[in-house]
Subunit: 442 residues, 2 copies
């Protein structure tokens, strides 16, 4: 490896020789002195090169001056020189006086995107867009958040599974489905790990989680839909109701947000002007029908043909919860069966309702969770009621025919959580490489 | 939640009332006493129910006797009773004298698979197959191994990325490619995260990893190929050669194997009769051409038309390494360019060789790694030399045109590592739900 010091670690070092590597952000090629701002994954640093002059005071075309004059923005270089602490240097109070500069790759001098480029243009050049510290930070936050989720689960003896993405039949519905030729037959891309995480309950795994891609052939172009995204899924056995799933999920979110606040709180404040709030437990819970009354009382008429809230309704209920409970999260519970999949368990007293919930964070739904129907006769009847063909579901129904404990779980969109956490308006900002109806590259 | 005690935790408890939940493994319904072996995710337990008799000594049809008589294998139940420590009980020296038994689901009395069922039959009924403790343990081991890998990386400031699986063009080759209709165009399933993890280097991320599914439309039916599997990938900047990648990977493997040995060593010994050996560092390194000479000297004629080793050759070199160095791993290095992809960097002195390696574990290749060519003119020439159309690679070549540091990485098949670690003969055994040319269900 190149023996380099990360830029963030320089300020703690004494004056003396150092080597740093990164890419060129700016070059000021002045007559008497040259300045280069070098950035690496940890920060930015000023490199300085006072130009050599001969006895007559004529500036010499020596090294590294000549190399610096030819530098383009984005070029990757390794610089060796003398670290100097100097309070007058705006960039961190340090600079490196260059001894040598080695160019790894000289970048094309074009600059296809600028700070004010539109989002589609930036996505075309995503690898340049991700060099912006704020954008790169998003993926460090994602790493911390995910690792905290996994650690929460693993400390509690959950098993991590990788469910297959290639399926012989649709997992959720026949709509929004990608299909492909699979040798002599047809395969479908998994719309969720739903069936296979339930299988783990029948297999006696007890508690599992699965973080992986899910695919939706969703033609919509909204700021919160993607055709491929990372799903964070869990499923647990021996629950009494969806309340047990909600209790686990709120603890999980507290673990994740605590880790992000501890590790990145200051940077997030600086680069996003956002304060990460670790939510208090329990999160508020409001039955959906009650939430609809609250929204109506606030003067919003829900614009949908079914029993669900619309996006503005979600924002209204979130505003109500923020005002009333000072909380950014709310569980909306007991959704009508009419707008829930066949595998959600119905409420014992009122079978028009399900033992299910959505989790709304800062006005947007990030999760659907539920207790699952584990009694195969009821499950099959509910599938028929939803217009599904039980023969196509036969392999799934077998999981129940041969014994399964009561169970439930949830699915959460990782990018949605990040988008809302960082007050971003679009999933594209928080997805490494976004996929939508017209976006397959890079 | 059902307030249950895990079976493994019972032996540490004093005699007294307990509740356990799990599935029925066997029932012995005798005239005077009934025995049920109950299993949960942590172990197995004997439940005992001495049958009640009336004043005349006639056995009564009361509860839980009647429920026990109707129990089928695989039914999920919750049992409450008195825990008793009794050295005479073979199963762990404890039993629970039943007070009550609640059936969650009564399983279909058929038993589609048995201990001696063939692997295809077992895969048809994978959810039952995974109830076997040895099979379930595999996924606890996988969880521990992966978490140790991730923790190793995260402690060293790597960023976890999720590369998209939907691509506009092939990532590796035009062979073994799944394609699908994607709105008005065609998409391909990623054969590896190769291009996108390299993109992270151009984006200045420095060090990244990515664990996710990869897809190969490979029609072969061998024990070590699948059409979908979990790839463990890493890519790092500012390397001097593939040696830097190898050094990271051997440390990573030691971290993973140490965690598995510490957490599951005893169980693995008991259920697999396998001793987990934490390998010593450095792993042996042998240039491929030298390895071929060694294999030839051992009398094996490699049966291939290209410059690679065949599977028997891999076994032979592993045997040589085991005999000579007492090691289960060997890095085979400096592969000929003829059998490496265009993006592997060539050796400076001998351009017929690449700065690449395979990692062979117990006689089977588990990884290909390399330093990547980051000089775009050389990269493009190598693509043309391999018969690829540089226009199709334009978006990928842009990553290099706009600056990229020297970098390299590897891809490792998670299931292959598990298969070899546990001395299994087939990937099907260590994959949650295997996918092959004729296997899409369940």
């Amino acid at each position: 490896m190149t023996e380099r010091t990360l830029i963030k670690d320089l300020s703690a070092l004494p004056d003396g020789p150092v080597t740093v590597s990164g890419w060129v952000e700016t070059v000021r090629d002045q007559k008497k002195v040259q300045f280069v701002v070098l950035r690496d994954e940890s920060g930015a640093l000023q490199l300085v090169n006072p130009r050599s002059v001969d006895d007559q005071g004529v500036v010499l075309a020596d090294e590294p001056a000549t190399t610096i004059s030819a530098l383009t923005q984005g070029s990757f270089v390794t610089a060796t020189g003398e670290l100097k602490h100097d309070e007058r240097v705006k960039l961190g109070g340090i600079e490196v006086k260059l001894d040598s500069l080695t160019v790894a790759t000289l970048a094309n001098p074009e600059t296809p995107i600028a700070a004010d480029s539109g989002i589609d243009k930036r996505m075309d050049w995503r690898f340049l867009d991700l060099r912006v510290p704020r954008n790169a930070l998003i993926f460090r936050i994602q790493t911390t958040l995910e690792h905290a989720f996994r650690t929460y689960w693993i400390e509690r003896d959950y098993v991590e599974i990788h469910t297959p993405k290639l399926m012989a039949s649709p997992s959720e519905s026949n709509a929004e489905l990608f299909k492909l030729d699979y040798f002599d037959t047809t395969a479908y891309l998994a719309q969720s790990p739903q069936f296979f995480k339930q299988m783990a309950q029948s297999a006696g795994f007890g508690k599992i989680f699965d973080i992986g891609p899910v695919f939706r052939a969703d033609p919509s172009f909204t700021s919160r839909h993607a055709t491929e995204y990372t799903g964070v899924d869990a499923e647990i056995s021996w629950i009494d109701s969806h309340e047990d799933v909600m209790r686990m999920q709120e603890e999980l979110i507290v673990a994740g947000f605590s880790a992000v606040a501890a590790k990145h709180g200051a940077e997030i404040r600086e680069l996003f002007d956002v304060e990460i709030v670790v939510p208090s437990i329990p999160f508020p819970r409001i039955p959906l029908l009650e939430a609809k009354d609250i929204v109506a009382a606030r003067g919003h008429v829900v614009d949908r043909n079914d029993d669900d809230l619309d996006p503005e309704g979600e924002r209204q209920i979130a505003a109500y919860v923020a005002e009333t409970f000072g909380h950014e999260f709310v569980f909306l519970t007991d959704y009508p069966a009419s707008i829930r999949p066949f595998y959600h368990m119905r409420n014992d007293e009122d079978t028009s309702l399900t033992k299910s919930y959505d989790l709304v964070y800062r006005g947007t739904e990030i999760t659907t969770g539920a207790q699952r129907e584990h009694r195969v006769d009821i499950l099959e009847a509910q599938a028929v009621e939803k217009g599904l063909d039980p023969h196509e579901l036969d392999y799934y129904l077998d999981f129940f025919r041969f014994g399964v404990p009561p169970h439930g779980g949830f699915g959460m969109g990782l990018a949605r959580v990040l988008m809302l956490m960082l007050h971003q308006g679009n999933l594209r900002e928080v997805t490494y490489l976004f996929r939508g109806p017209t976006r397959l590259q890079p």
